[in-house]
């Protein structure tokens, strides 16, 4: 059962990593304009680099 000593922290760590990623997407305003993001992905202007301007306040 010693394997648990490794596996439990790994599983909790993965969960925390997922949560951290979710919090990051939330902070980066990725849920503020779903309709706009859906349209923007078809736009050629952002093929080479993402838009560098500040996000609009929602």
């Amino acid at each position: 059962m010693n394997v648990l000593v490794v596996l439990i922290p790994v599983s909790v760590g993965l969960g925390l990593a997922g949560l951290a990623a979710f919090v990051w997407t939330l902070r980066a305003s990725q849920y503020d304009d779903p309709a706009g993001d859906r349209a923007r992905i078809l736009d050629d202007r952002f093929d080479d680099a993402p838009a560098d301007d500040p996000r609009g306040q929602s």
Partner: protein, 712 residues
């Protein structure tokens, strides 16, 4: 880009010229809908001088522009050149939006990730871990679940405490009780190493699914609500105050009696008052539904909400802000609204029946088991199982999931559903009542008959100088018949009278019959050779109105017309549209009383209107709709705001609402079915955390999928 809305003309004053203090300017872009629009708008804005950054939010149909010392007017002009309508938004009215959604998403995320982890640990216990291993797993689960539940469950706990504080029960009381009991008792078990069930995953799953319901609820109304707030923010009423130091733009509510204000042609009067200088025509349709413009001269009274049409006026303010005729209607509206707020939706009614039942069942299970086995822990375990299994995750999703889908679909068709219970009330509608001016008619005039071309050409030439609706109708008629306006020179608009000019060396006039030297209605043309030609007008119907009325009647819904306008015009309109039940000269009180009488007969009426004189009726009707071109007061009380130009979507709205109500009832039935199956199992003590997790997930999933099913 289509017909310019009435709100846009009122915005002339709204776009303030004061430099913005460094903050971002928010622009409302009602027409954007695709990737190309985003690119065009952002490029146009970035090319404007002084702009450092611009970003479009398509969901909220809004652009945020940053830069130093920006003013809205040049930006709006730049966008107009690129073919996009834009209006400035008052940032103070938009403050505080969007924060709740982020907060809810955060809590959902925490509950979701905690649930996944605890589930994994629970699988080990379900598949046979025992003794010290099981206790270790339970303790780790507790370490994850307790803080997660404490954070994620806050909205439910807060709402439950509020309800209990008022001595009431709402759905959040059994939810909070189930979450707290499940987590608390499991923690005790984990600490003492008892062999009882651990409910950590159930507590988290419950929180997670219910939070998804809350998020859907929030997201569905966010777009609609923000658009409604934008409509309100558009109408920042401003006034041009004449001071000794020159004219100054001020907010309308800061006006005081005795102030002198200038009202330009095309503007709405910001306050009640008496005309001090100038002559003009005013459009009173917003206040009393009269379609024909009325002339005013010095000494004439004007009211806030009316529109100045032809000449600049100087008005001495008599009443401003909350004392205006416009605001006095609010009392009437408040009374009517209070009657409607007692309506409770399907979800409320289900929850009210359900919440006590859940408590009685689990308390009964506890008492019975304690009496039968004298084992307090076992009895508590069964009680928790009952509480958790009956807790209506699916019920929490049943209504929000459907209304999210339906309001989203309606929003794409240009209908903003503002009220939470509006869909259910719309589904029950069995009678439709319309206002006339501005609702069934466009508010514009149309020339009747076919005057001879030479007279029409001359009239059109004169009309070019004027903003009066009749002038616009003459120009439109000339254009439609391909007649070029005659060349006139030295054009002078005589406000409140008409227009005069020189044509081929003669003095020609177009204006009120009384001015030309005749009696009667309409407009007379004096061609300078002794001949006088009369032009008569009728109201222009919305092109989709006759079809809409026919559709509604074909569906067996009685249609009525309530108007503040005179007999003649109302009869003409009702004959054109085929409405038998038409009433003229209705005051706002008459309209509200008429609707109350119909409600007394058991009718559930949908009121469609745009004016101030309709606002009390809109608030009192079972459900209500106002076009976005209507006054702010009407839009504020209406359940649904029609943003597009197509009144015909009212028919679709009723169908969608009916379909949604059916879907909501199905969903509640489905979640009740799960409970009917699960409750005996739980009460008899056969429920395990595994079964609870399964039942909750499957019922929530079924309900969500059922809501997403496309309506036939």
């Amino acid at each position: 880009m289509t017909a310019a809305c009435a709100a846009c003309s009122a915005v002339d004053v709204g776009a303030s010229d004061a430099p913005n203090g460094g903050g971002a300017i928010q622009l409302h872009l009602p027409d954007i809908h695709c990737a190309a629009c985003i690119a065009e708008v952002e490029e146009a804005l970035r090319a404007a001088p002084g702009v450092t950054g611009a970003r479009v939010n398509l969901t909220l149909k809004r652009a945020s522009v940053e830069g130093g010392g920006l003013t809205a007017t040049p930006l709006i002009e730049a966008l107009a050149a690129a073919g996009h309508r834009a209006q400035e938004l008052d940032p103070s009215l938009l403050a505080g939006q969007g924060g709740e959604m982020r907060d809810l998403l955060m809590r959902t995320g925490v509950a979701g990730f905690a649930m996944m982890n605890v589930m994994l640990l629970s699988v080990a216990v379900w598949s046979g871990a025992a003794d010290a291993t099981a206790q270790l797993f339970h303790l780790i689960s507790a370490a994850i679940a307790i803080p997660a539940v404490a954070f994620a469950g806050r909205p439910f706990f807060a709402s439950a405490l509020r309800a209990l504080g008022h001595g009431r029960l709402n759905m959040d009381v059994p939810i909070s009780l189930a979450i707290v009991l499940a987590a608390g008792v499991s923690l005790m078990n984990a600490l003492t190493g008892s062999e009882q069930h651990a409910w950590f995953d159930a507590a988290l799953a419950l929180t997670f699914f219910l939070l998804i319901g809350r998020c859907l609820d929030q997201a569905g109304r966010r777009a609609a609500r923000s658009a409604a707030a934008e409509l309100a923010a558009l109408d920042v009423p401003q006034a041009i105050l004449l001071t000794d130091a020159g004219p100054r733009v001020v907010r309308a509510e800061t006006l005081a009696p005795g102030d002198r204000i200038e009202v330009r042609p095309g503007d709405r009067f910001p306050a009640d008052g008496i005309v001090a200088e100038g002559r003009s025509d005013i459009d009173r349709s917003a206040l009393n539904g009269e379609s024909a413009p009325a002339p005013v001269a010095p000494g004439g009274a004007v009211s806030a909400g009316e529109i100045n049409l032809s000449g600049p006026l100087v008005v001495t303010v008599e009443r401003a802000g909350r004392d205006t005729a416009l605001s006095r209607l609010t009392d009437l509206v408040a009374t009517a609204e209070a009657q409607r707020s007692r309506y409770s939706g399907v979800a409320d009614r289900a929850a009210r029946a359900y919440a006590p039942l859940v408590h009685i069942l689990s308390a009964g299970a506890f008492v019975a088991w304690f009496w039968a086995t004298a084992d307090g822990w076992r009895a508590l375990d069964v009680a928790i199982a009952t509480l958790v299994i009956t807790c209506p995750c699916a019920l929490g999703l049943a209504v929000p999931a459907v209304s999210t889908v339906a309001t989203g679909r309606l929003f794409r068709r240009g209908l903003l559903v503002k009220s939470q219970t509006a869909l259910e009330r719309l589904a029950e509608v069995d009678m439709v009542v319309f206002d006339k001016t501005g609702t069934l008619t466009t508010g514009a005039a149309r020339l009747t008959g076919s005057p001879e071309p030479r007279a029409l050409a001359l009239a059109a030439g004169l009309a070019t100088a004027s903003r009066h609706p009749y002038s616009q109708a003459i120009r439109a008629a000339a254009e439609a018949r391909g007649i070029a306006p005659a060349a006139v020179s030295e054009v002078v608009e005589v406000p409140g009278r008409g227009v005069e000019a020189q044509h081929e060396g003669r003095r020609v006039r177009l204006g009120h019959p009384g001015w030309i030297g005749a009696a009667g209605d309409g407009v007379m043309l004096d061609d300078g050779e002794g001949g006088a030609v009369r032009f008569t007008f009728e109201e222009e119907m919305r092109p989709e109105a006759p079809a809409l009325i026919a559709t509604l009647k074909a569906r067996g819904l009685p249609v009525a017309l309530l108007s503040g306008d005179g007999e003649g015009t109302v009869r003409a309109a009702s004959n054109t549209l085929g409405i038998d039940d038409a009433h003229a000269r209705m005051t706002p009180e008459d309209k509200a009383d008429w609707l109350a009488a119909r409600a007394g007969e058991g009718r559930r009426v949908l009121m469609v209107g745009d004016g101030l004189n309709d606002s009390a009726a809109l608030a009192g009707a079972h459900a209500s709709l106002a076009p976005a071109s209507g006054l702010e007061a009407a839009r504020a009380v209406a359940d649904v705001v029609l943003v597009g130009d197509d009144l015909g979507s009212v028919a679709d709205l009723l169908i969608t609402a009916k379909g949604s109500l059916v879907r909501m009832r199905e969903n509640i039935g489905i979640s009740a079915l799960y409970n009917i199956v699960a409750v005996p199992v739980a009460v008899l003590g056969f429920a395990s955390p595994f079964l609870a997790a399964l039942a909750m997930s499957v019922s929530s999933l079924t309900v969500t999928l059922n809501s997403l099913r496309r309506q036939a």
